[in-house]
């Protein structure tokens, strides 16, 4: 039983379908008036936005201004900037993070596309065993394996190198499944036509599949970029050389001992470190949502 069948009341079948598959046009019956929703959403946006907004204000304030609880931009932005960039070299960490995040995102996307292609457009012996092999890795969060991974990566001689932050994360069960799912829903005529035209699998992937898969690629790219950018425990373990550390680690240099927390530079660092992932997320939001079929009303 897919869905309980209810006779539409005084509405043609067409209209009922539209109501199901598109965003509702009318006010739902169980909701109060719209103005109510606006007020609640305003409050929600303000509460959710407040921590970052306040962090931005503090990023411009001196320590004395922070303790005076002023909700205005302060006078110490230049000083804080000086500490964060010239003194603690946050930009070095930022560049490292950008490089690693882009490398992993690109690599993961390519490898996931290739494995999705192999799973959907080929028939080969042991397909289900290989598929199971990939499937089971969904149950293995890297965090749990981190000690053994640490030993293994060190034994490869990759300790404190970018390789250690990139290579182990290039394969993705999530990405493979996402593309497998997406490719399975593409009409078979497309691949049949490509084969009749004598296209090789790689030509078919690059010239046919990729151009119609940008939403899925975008969605995966957002997840991976944000995931890699925000990775914390693994870099903390493996990356001991300061000039190669990523920004999530580098922020620790802005926090001295517990006794002397200087909030201005700390918040400036936190805000700067959040710009790339938030920007990527907001810019690719549409792809992100439609890639997961989250947005029905596009």
């Amino acid at each position: 039983m897919e869905r309980e069948q209810v006779t539409p009341v005084a509405a043609p079948a067409q209209a009922t379908r539209a109501a199901v598959y598109r965003a509702p046009r009318q006010r739902p019956l169980w909701l109060p008036q719209r103005w109510y929703a606006h007020i609640i959403l305003w409050i929600a946006c303000a509460v959710i936005g407040f921590p970052l907004f306040y962090a931005m204000l503090v990023a411009t304030q001196s320590q004395a201004e922070v303790f005076a609880y002023r909700f205005l931009p302060g006078t110490s932005f230049a000083d804080n900037w000086n500490i964060v960039i010239n003194n603690r070299h946050l930009h070095t960490y930022m560049i490292n993070s950008v490089f690693i995040a882009l490398a992993v995102t690109a690599g993961k996307t390519v490898l996931s596309l290739l494995s999705g292609l192999a799973f959907v457009y080929f028939r080969f012996p042991g397909k289900w065993i290989v598929f199971g092999f990939v499937l089971i890795t969904l149950m293995m969060p890297t965090e749990i394996l981190i000690l053994a991974l640490f030993r293994f990566v060190n034994s490869l001689g990759w300790g404190s190198t970018f390789t250690a932050l990139i290579v182990p994360f290039l394969a993705s069960a999530t990405g493979t499944f996402l593309f497998r799912q997406h490719f399975s829903n593409i009409p078979a005529e497309l691949s049949e036509a490509a084969q009749l035209d004598g296209a090789t699998p790689l030509q078919f992937l690059i010239q046919v599949l990729v151009p119609i898969s940008w939403n899925t690629i975008g969605a995966l790219a957002v997840i991976q970029f944000v995931y890699v950018w925000n990775m914390y425990i693994w870099p903390v373990l493996i990356m001991r050389r300061e000039e190669y550390q990523v920004v999530q680690q580098g922020l620790a240099t802005l926090i001295g001992g517990d006794a002397a927390l200087v909030f201005g530079p700390m918040m400036l660092g936190a805000v700067i470190a959040s710009i790339p992932p938030v920007l990527v997320f907001v810019l690719l939001q549409k792809q992100f949502m439609s890639g997961f079929a989250l947005a029905r009303d596009k």
Binding site: R3, V6, V9, T16, A23, P24, R27, P28, L29, W30, R34, A37, I40, L41, C45, I48, P51, Y54, A55, V58, V66, S112, L117, A118, F119, Y121, F122, R123, P125, V130, V134, M139, E143, I146, L147, A148, L149, F152, P168, A171, A173, N185, A188, S191, Q195, V226, N230, I233, L237, Q248, L251, L261, F263, A273, S274, V278, F281, V282, Q285, L294
Partner: protein, 405 residues
Amino acid sequence: MASTPLLITLATTLIGAGLIAYVFRNLGYNVLLGGVLGGVAGALGTLFFMLPVNFCMFAPDPEARYTIELADQIFGLIMIVLGLLMTLWPLRWWAIWWSRRNDPQYATQQVQQGLFKSRFLPFVFLAPTLIILALFLYYPSLDTFRLSTLLARLDSQRTAFVCVDNFTRLVNDTGYFGVVGTTLMISLAIVAIGLVLSLLIATMAYQPLKGARIYRTLLIWPYAISPAVAGIIFLLLFNPTGGIMNYFLNGLFGIKIGWLNDPAAAPWAVIVASVWKSMGFNVLFYIAGLQNVPKDLQEAAAIDGANAIQRFRHVVIPLLSPITFFLVITNITYAFFDTFGTIDYLTGGGPVGSTTTLMYQVYELGIVNKDLGKAAAQSIILFAMVIGLTIVQFRTQGRRVNYGA
């Protein structure tokens, strides 16, 4: 007794044979075949965990580096039962699937794609993925199991086999149960508070309001903030002397809370920071779910005289249950693992261990104290929890009806 391993294997072989023979009889297949398959599966299931440790918990250590107690034997039995489940359950599942393979009621429709003719190419395409998964996920997993039976230090190559002492010593470790309690409490609060608030916000945000797109963007952006940055920002907000939270609380109610140095308050600082960071993700999925709730059901309920709250409670919430379930699982995973960055920056696991979660404990044991064996054993326990959650997720997703989507 040297023959204990043999006796155990024999017993589990018989148990496996009996169970699968019973399954085969019910399905109308050859009972003898079922018995043979079940026997092999039973023996393999036992040996899966027992062979690597050589049945150590059922015999005294010849070199007396560890002692065998009742807890070790019970643990050994649990391992055997888990091993049996791992082989017998899939066998039963496979037998049932086999009996239904020609039944149109269970047939899966799949779009048959035009298939490229090559036996060699798909493996070329899959090779990088498979090699990386094998080297950086499978091998470390197995190595974690191996480490968990050893006395091993991070900075030393020398190790000693200690059977399952790393696990069974936890039974008498009240500190460990405290950590389990903290983890469960923090996870439960993150899931409950996060989901209730997100559902409330999503019920407002999914409607086609003026500026709905802007609202949605402003609601979900914390998804992109890192747990570490969340920790840093809330370090400012929750600072006991200069923090804005206490400034507000003091102004409104005349109280000050030692957010980061009071063991009763510190977990709440972590919870608030984590809920804030994970809310965007939940709101996103609830908005999508609400958009898929069929309106005809609500209209029917309205005609039957249900008021707004009743309709929400009895129509909308049940229809959202698959999404709620998915979010519960992802939020638990988040609370278990991803809160590490938040905790590390915000409280460092303190004060007096009040925000030390299982993951944080693994880090402290393995990296700070360099006690690899113990840390690996605790990782395995976390691992078991994750596998349990995943199985629950798969089973439930398979059964639940996907309403309207």
